[in-house]
């Protein structure tokens, strides 16, 4: 029995909890992609950089707060600094929309033109971020590292395996729940939110109903900037901030959005968790878990790892491919908000 509990705790500690935290980050990222797809109808390749940009300003503000001795005690200071990052990201995306995308909206360009424009935007953001903060790794986590340490857990339960619950993981989960709840309240309960869903569902009819497209687009960008900054900051707190990783995270984010059904917010969240948990589960070494569950003589010699962690992108891609082959609309029906 203890062995069984140990195995469970081991899985929770190294697979489930990190997977959920990562899933939250992907879900928030995928929500941003899906919102833009639903309203402006293109895949925004600059989304990863938007996340990095918001995070960068959060980090700068964090440093400023830290140097002035302001902190939140056990909670990372970055949470206090996040509004600054969000504000910067909002200004950035609204400025970009005005200078870049608005023109193509007036022209009624094909989505693929927006996509290429978003590549240009991505390039620009990328340079801008490296110009301001440099290409290096930045760690900006402070406060206490753990909510429950592995040792405390062992003392509490008497098990061999400890389950650590990192502060950043806790924060990620709580903040994600708040953000998602607020977003769905907005989309389903407020008039403005409903008008966004209406616009996403049927643009022509929305125009006939007197819904102002410029306003809808503006709100979509603002929401995207907020979600991107929150997702980026949580990701940066949990791992570390490096501009390049935000380019790479684009693939799992797109995969999450498409797997869930692009344009569908509920799908984006499901997709985020699906991708994240699969990624962690496939690259997890099960040796120790199996060791607890089977008699000693059966214990495996190797790591029992399906794929090395370097192939985590392959996991999101494979899932994406399977979904495209089997159900191109995604798990939830896509293309609407």
């Amino acid at each position: 029995m203890t062995d069984f509990l140990n195995a469970i705790v081991l899985l929770l500690n190294f697979l489930v909890i990190p997977g959920i935290a990562y899933g939250c980050q992907l879900a928030l990222g995928a929500l941003g992609v899906t919102l833009i797809y639903g309203i402006l109808r293109f895949s925004n390749f600059a989304h990863g950089e938007t996340m990095a940009f918001g995070t960068m300003f959060t980090i700068l503000a964090t440093w400023f707060l830290q140097s002035n001795g302001i902190s939140l005690g056990p909670i990372p200071t970055a949470l206090l600094a996040m509004p600054i990052g969000i504000l910067a990201a909002i200004l950035l995306v609204l400025g970009t929309d005005k200078l870049v995308y608005k023109f193509y909206r007036k022209q009624k360009s094909k989505p693929v033109i927006y996509l290429i424009a978003s590549l240009g935007v991505m390039f620009f953001y990328n340079g801008l971020i490296r110009f301001i903060i440099g290409p290096d790794d930045r760690i900006f986590t402070d406060g206490s590292r753990f909510i429950i340490t592995a040792r405390e857990f062992k003392e509490m339960t008497g098990l061999d395996q400890g389950m650590a619950f990192k502060m950043t993981q806790g924060i990620t989960i709580v903040v994600t729940i708040i953000c998602v709840a607020a977003l769905f309240w907005f989309l389903n309960r407020t008039r403005t939110g409903k008008s966004m869903r209406a616009y996403s569902d049927n643009e022509d009819l929305a125009l006939l109903s007197g819904i102002n497209p410029d306003r809808v687009v503006m709100i979509a960008w603002v929401l995207t900037a907020v979600l991107a900054t929150v997702a980026g900051t949580l990701y940066g707190l949990d791992k570390s901030f490096k501009p390049f990783t935000y380019l790479q995270i684009l693939l799992p984010i797109f995969a999450a959005a498409i797997v869930g059904g692009i344009g569908n917010p509920v799908g984006a969240i499901l997709g985020g968790f699906f991708i994240a948990l699969s990624e962690v589960a496939v690259t997890f070494a099960y040796k120790q878990v199996i060791g607890y569950l089977v008699p000693e003589s059966w214990a495996p010699e190797g790591l029992v790892q399906l794929l090395s962690t370097d192939y985590k992108f392959a996991v999101s891609f494979t899932i994406l491919v399977i979904v495209l082959l089997v159900k191109p609309t995604g798990l939830m029906k896509g293309q609407s908000i």
């Binding site: 293109f42 895949s43 390749f45 870049v100 023109f103 989505p111 693929v112 033109i113 996509l115 290429i116 424009a117 590549l119 240009g120 935007v121 991505m122 390039f123 620009f124 953001y125 990328n126 340079g127 801008l128 490296r130 110009f131 301001i132 440099g134 290409p135 380019l247 790479q248 684009l250 693939l251 797109f254 995969a255 498409i258 692009i262 190797g302 399906l306 090395s308 370097d310 192939y311 992108f313 392959a314 999101s316 891609f317 994406l320 491919v321 495209l324 082959l325 089997v326 191109p328």
Partner: protein, 435 residues
């Protein structure tokens, strides 16, 4: 291309830029940039075939470039017999099993239906994964532990590297077939995302499958094509030494220039062949049909054209060209470094070239490759000079100044982004518009 004054002068200006670099900087630098531009132009041609002819969005150019690089490497380096003895049979057997598994999945896909089909295919996939891993893993370990500091991989075929260019094209075409089969015919964004994914995976494979590519340990000292001499040989020859003396330049400089010139000649030949074929194809009934499909997919489909099939063709062709260019690039470098493949440099920069040059026009794509390639390399000194000028008024030890100087290198990313956006907005047809 219509040979009007404008187009000819655009190319002439480009030529003058190279001459200017040669005179004011050095001929060696000028030729270095020229070689880079020639390869970029081939890549740009390949992407133009996909985007310009058919409107297909490939965001995984990097992956096809890297496949070409791998092909050049594996063809040219000598085999490692010890490693082959240790694990070659295991690898072969795994490959054989993989083939069986794919055949079984294919058979099940065609013979079965509905739920059973999904179940059987899933079962075969999972089962074969573990069986193959069972045979593959020990073989890989054996290979990688054989002389891991020196080789640690199976080695290659020890054949002329030019064969690697062909193989590069073939490998890239194969990968393109796979991606195209899956994602063509779906929403256009999906091809973009699928290609982004496959390129990341190709890079991950190249970095991690040490038995094949040595991974991050890199492969260096690739043999040169037959027509390209080695510097040491030139430096030993009395003929060249005399020539250097009579021209009043050092033999080291002359040998470096000669090597670069030989490469440039080779690349130029490939570029011209591909350009000629592309132009022929574009003017043929096939090319006209491609453009008709691009301009009105629905109408073409209604006329009974197999749009997805044509798209697959064009996607494979374009990717093959990119693969060849990738092999050329690795040949030029003389070494294969999987970590050097960065999406910004190998995917998005090529996009800038195509858009700037003029999508749909082969000459435009070539010019775009030259212009953007040139400024990509020259942007760094220009950026540095620019920052120097801006910061010259600041104090020597100013933090801002040192930050600005240090960050000048990132200016070019911003510059490329801005160029792409400006061209897309104000001259969406590019420097040399489509006819």
């Amino acid at each position: 291309m219509t040979f009007n004054l404008r187009n000819i002068s655009l190319f002439a200006i480009m030529g003058l830029l190279f001459i200017a670099v040669g005179i004011f900087n050095s001929w060696s630098t000028s030729l270095f940039i020229l070689n880079f531009c020639l390869i970029s132009a081939v890549m740009s041609l390949g992407v133009n075939i996909q985007w310009g002819y058919a409107g297909l969005l490939n965001v995984g150019i990097m992956g096809f470039v890297a496949l070409g690089g791998m092909a050049a490497t594996l063809v040219s380096i000598p085999p490692v017999y010890g490693a082959i003895d240790a694990g070659g049979s295991g690898i072969l057997f795994s490959a054989f099993l993989t083939a069986i598994a794919i055949a079984a999945i294919y058979y099940a896909y065609n013979k079965l239906k509905g739920g059973t089909r999904k179940l059987v295919i899933t079962a075969i996939s999972i089962l074969s994964f573990f069986v193959i891993r069972h045979y593959l893993d020990p073989a890989v370990d054996a290979i990688e532990s054989y002389d891991s500091a020196g080789t640690g991989n199976l080695g290659g075929l020890n054949m002329p590297i030019l064969f690697g260019w062909v193989l590069g094209g073939i490998l890239a075409a194969g990968a393109a077939w796979l991606v195209g089969k899956i994602s063509l015919g779906l929403r256009s964004d999906y091809l973009a995302i699928a290609t982004l994914g496959i390129s990341e995976i190709i890079i991950a494979v190249l970095k991690n499958e040490d038995w094949l590519t040595r991974g991050v340990k890199n492969v260096n000292g690739l043999p040169r094509p037959f027509s390209v001499p080695y510097e040491v040989n030139i430096q030993k020859s009395t003929y060249w030494m005399d020539l250097a003396n009579s021209w009043g330049m050092s033999i080291v400089d002359l040998s470096s220039i000669m090597v670069k010139l030989s490469y440039a000649a080779l690349f130029a030949i490939v570029l011209l062949i591909i350009l000629y074929l592309s132009e022929k194809a574009l003017a043929s009934p096939w090319g006209r049909m491609m453009r008709a499909i691009r301009d009105n997919e629905t109408a073409a489909e209604a006329m009974g054209k197999n749009v997805t099939g044509r798209h697959l063709q064009v996607f494979i062709l374009g990717s093959a060209v990119v693969g060849i260019a990738g092999a050329m690039l690795t040949t030029l470098d003389g070494l294969f470094t999987p970590t050097a493949y960065q999406p910004l440099r190998y995917t998005f920069l090529i996009w800038v070239m195509v858009i700037v040059g003029g999508s749909g026009n082969n000459w435009g794509a070539v010019l775009g490759g030259f212009v953007v390639g040139f400024f990509w390399i020259e942007a760094e000194p220009i950026g540095l000079w620019f920052m120097d000028v801006i910061t010259s008024g600041m104090a020597e030890d100013s933090d801002l100044r040192s930050h600005l100087l240090k960050s000048a290198a990132h200016m070019r990313l911003m510059m490329m982004g801005v160029i792409l956006l400006l061209v897309l907005r104000f001259t969406p047809k590019g420097l040399i518009p489509e006819k």
